[in-house]
Amino acid sequence: MRSFIIRRLITSVPVILAIVLVSFVLTRLVPGDPIVALVGDYPVPPEYVEERRQAFGLDQPIYVQTLIYFKNLFLGDFGYSFVNRLPVMDVILQRAANTLLLVVPSQILGSIIAVLLASMAIRRPGGRLDTGLTSLILFVDSIPIFWVGQVFIIVFAVQLGLFPVQGMFNIRSTGSNVILDFLWHWALPGSIVSTFAMVAIARVARVSMIEVSRLDFITTATAKGLNRRRVFFRHILPNAMVPVIAVIGYTFGQALTSSFMIEAVFGWPGIGELFLRSVASRDYPVLQGIFLLTATLVVLSNLLSDVISSQMDPRIEYGR
């Protein structure tokens, strides 16, 4: 078991290195002096520019620069955002909690509903419910999530006045109202992110449940005349849960992106909203920081879900 985790950890290393390499290549995309990519388009003191130029060895050959870039990032030097007057990681981490408040409950809610729907749908593959679910998956896959946000705002907030148009909380609320007020603000963006998360998970959950139900031992169990419900809860669900758990981790990146876009539409003070503003002010250090953080989070959530599902599934061999 432990050796599996270690092995899995080791395979994550090249991926992380590749992400950093991509991030380094990105700094070369900005036309002109690459220092612009490291300090942003915002006016900065010339001393800082010089300091950065030195720190990143921009006068050295390219392979040395690459190494220095790696070294700096691993030492935690993500640069300084002059737009925000703070070190890049501070800027991003201050927003991270708000993004997680949106994305984590949505991912949980989404997975629960996804498993429920998928398990009901596969009782009769091709039946009404199953067709409904697959159509929903296809349909949701075709919608820009930010547009759903806009339409919800127009319908539920502006026209019907049921929910707030923007924001995460009412700064005035106190005590127990804080939670109610938060839920009221969360309702629209949260339900959208949940739905998109649900769809991403249901797609895999449905297929893997169908596959499991076709496995020999299940067919045998059914043939033996065992209660369908029993078969489902005893055999299908536990076995299907393994890939489902994995997919919950694997779709976390997608959920993050959904959340970023929804934040931009709802003025939710998270990383996505920061991303939007940093794009507008060409604050490259922050943009790169968000990229690195998001990509690393995705790698970690993949890792975590692999570890969890490996513990659940006896068939996964550790070590090998």
């Binding site: 007057r85 201050q94 707030p164 700064i171 003025g267 003070p269 060409r282």
Partner: protein
């Protein structure tokens, strides 16, 4: 908006020079002046005798005016409560001395105070200074400080003032840097007395010593030996002395300011706390006010498209912000062919439907300018002149003029192609660009729109790399600086200067004459003459006189004597 505030400073400064003397005939001011705290009254009475010349008269009159309307105020301020206002984004710094960023001004001028404050009429009054003593030759200004303390308990001393001016504002504030050039020396005579000696008389000096002008006093003991730009006090943990102190700053969310228990003005402030909530989207800010979640939207954070929504609501007040007038215009690079020919420039004006721009890009707010100078200074505007009559929207005439100037169409009907620089943050900019592209297509001009961020945009425009560019400038309170920078040849090539690169000795002369006089009518003569020439020459197309408005709940009281960035000292909530 950003560059408006950059200019603000330079312009504001001259304002005093001319406006103060004008307010000697201050009957209007007396009747209109809003309420001010009692402290102003007594302070100014004390020091009145020691003031000299026209300057004193101006300040004296307005002081009396405050007294009058203060008593007219019906309700007694209620104590306690919280007021919330919105910002578009986090402030960059927490002190106005380092930047002209509007969010910083809004927060910074609550936290930190200048020796002088600025009232609703745009006039200076002693704030952190108890009194001002001006020598007869108007070269020496002696300030006696109030008995105020920093939030860490240390007293505010003359040394703080000297250090701030010399080491912080004088080095970092775009506005105060200029002020410092007219100052000969700054001496801390005693703990509470500071003497500023000028190189030569400089009327606007008192306005220049306000927080709005980047001269808020900062604590020497916190800043000494550090870089103000990275000092924590500048961007995270201020040590301030204003009516409210920063309790909490959750970036991207809000700043919570609480009542300063040791605030030096007796009995103030009335509110327990004020919260600045960051709401990035315009719709979100408006909604927050409509639903009563917030009490106020400052002028720079309120979308013109949302004015009608606020006007419709009887609980809310929508009013023009108290700030210097501004202008939105398009500069034409007069050095590039064929724009060196004034007929071509006139043709562009004929090809521009300014009424449409007003209706669309500006949501019908403000007015289409009647003269090359935007409105705001009636004494300097020629009432006879009306650009809308001189240059009605008439593509046919534009075509005729272009033909006449020899700018002919090629086989595809195109006369010329050129770039048009806009800045993404400028309100209405992208709409104007899209509309102009369309309007000018009809006269055979092909625009390539370049959306460029400041400061890159500013530099490129200053270098003359734009054929056409869209700008918003602030007057800073007087045409002598605000408007002159657009036209006089000395500002060619400087940032936010004469973007049209227009050079006309006659205009230079008229502007010089215009600022050398003090009598407004006399000055008006020169400016009116200049407008005639400019209206003919058309180095810039004045598009729009903006009216920036601010919105607040009717329940929020005591904001009547604030200017540009409220101090909230007199604010209270009537709910």
């Amino acid at each position: 908006m950003i560059h408006r505030s950059i200019l603000q400073g330079k312009l504001e400064i001259l304002k005093e020079l001319f406006n103060v003397s004008s307010s000697a005939g201050a009957e209007d001011i007396t009747s209109n002046a809003p309420a001010a705290g009692a402290h102003n009254r007594s302070l100014l009475r004390d020091s009145k005798a020691r003031f000299g010349g026209g300057l004193i008269v101006g300040l004296g009159f307005s002081a009396l005016a405050f007294a009058g309307s203060a008593s007219a105020q019906d309700a007694q301020p209620k104590r306690g409560g919280t007021a919330v206002f919105v910002l578009q984004e986090d402030p960059t710094y927490l002190t106005r001395d380092l930047t002209t960023n509007s969010e910083t001004g809004t927060i910074g001028c609550i936290l930190y105070q200048g020796l002088m404050g600025i009232n609703a009429e745009g006039e200076a009054y002693p704030l952190l200074a108890k009194s001002v003593d001006i020598s007869d030759d108007k070269l020496t200004y002696k300030f006696v400080l109030n008995d105020a303390r920093w939030q860490d308990g240390k007293p505010i001393t003359a040394k703080d003032v000297k250090y701030t001016y010399e080491e912080i504002s004088g080095k970092h504030s775009p506005t105060f840097k200029r002020t410092l050039t007219s100052i000969d020396k700054i001496e801390a005579v005693s703990d509470k007395e500071i003497v500023i000696t000028l190189k030569k008389p400089y009327g606007p000096i008192l306005i220049a010593l306000t927080c709005q002008q980047g001269a808020a006093i900062l604590p020497e003991h916190v800043y000494v030996g550090t870089d103000p730009l990275t000092n924590k006090a500048s961007n995270a943990e201020p040590v301030s002395s204003g009516p409210f102190i920063l309790k909490e700053w959750v970036r991207g969310s809000h700043l919570r300011l609480v009542k300063n228990p040791d605030y030096w003005e007796q009995g103030k402030p009335y509110l327990d706390e004020i919260i600045a909530q960051v709401v990035p989207s315009g719709a979100g800010r408006t909604q927050a006010l409509l639903s009563g979640q917030v009490d106020r939207i400052p002028w720079f954070a309120l979308e013109t498209s949302d004015y009608p929504l606020i006007e419709r609501n009887p609980q809310l007040l929508l009013q023009p912000a108290r700030k210097p007038p501004a202008t939105d215009f398009i500069s034409i690079n007069t050095e590039k062919k064929p724009f060196d020919d004034k007929r071509v420039r006139q043709a562009l004006m004929f090809a521009t439907d300014r009424e449409f721009l007003l209706k669309s890009a500006f949501n019908g707010q403000g007015a289409a300018s009647t003269s090359p100078f935007a409105g705001g200074f009636p004494w300097a505007i020629d009432p006879e002149m009306d650009l809308s009559k001189m240059y009605p929207y008439d593509p046919a005439r534009a075509n005729a003029l272009l033909d006449e100037a020899g700018v002919t169409r090629d086989a595809s009907g195109k006369r010329l192609s050129m770039n048009f620089i806009i800045e993404p943050g400028e309100e209405g900019g992208s709409q104007i660009a899209a509309a102009l592209k369309n309007m000018w297509e009809q006269v055979g001009i092909d625009l390539t729109i370049e959306t460029i961020q400041p400061p890159l945009s500013t530099e490129r425009i200053a270098k003359g790399e734009a054929n056409i560019a869209y700008h918003g400038y602030s007057s800073g309170g007087d045409p002598a600086i605000g408007w002159s920078g657009q036209f006089v040849s000395t500002t060619i090539g400087s940032l936010r200067g004469n973007a049209a690169r227009y050079s006309n000795p006659e205009i230079d002369e008229l502007f010089t004459l215009g600022q050398s006089e003090t009598d407004l009518d006399a000055r008006g003569v020169y400016y009116k003459k200049a407008q005639k020439i400019l209206g003919e020459d058309m180095p810039i197309l004045t598009i729009h006189d903006p009216v920036d408005k601010e919105a607040q709940g009717a329940w929020l009281k005591g904001m009547e004597n604030e200017y540009m960035f409220p101090t909230w000292r007199d604010a209270w909530v009537d709910k």
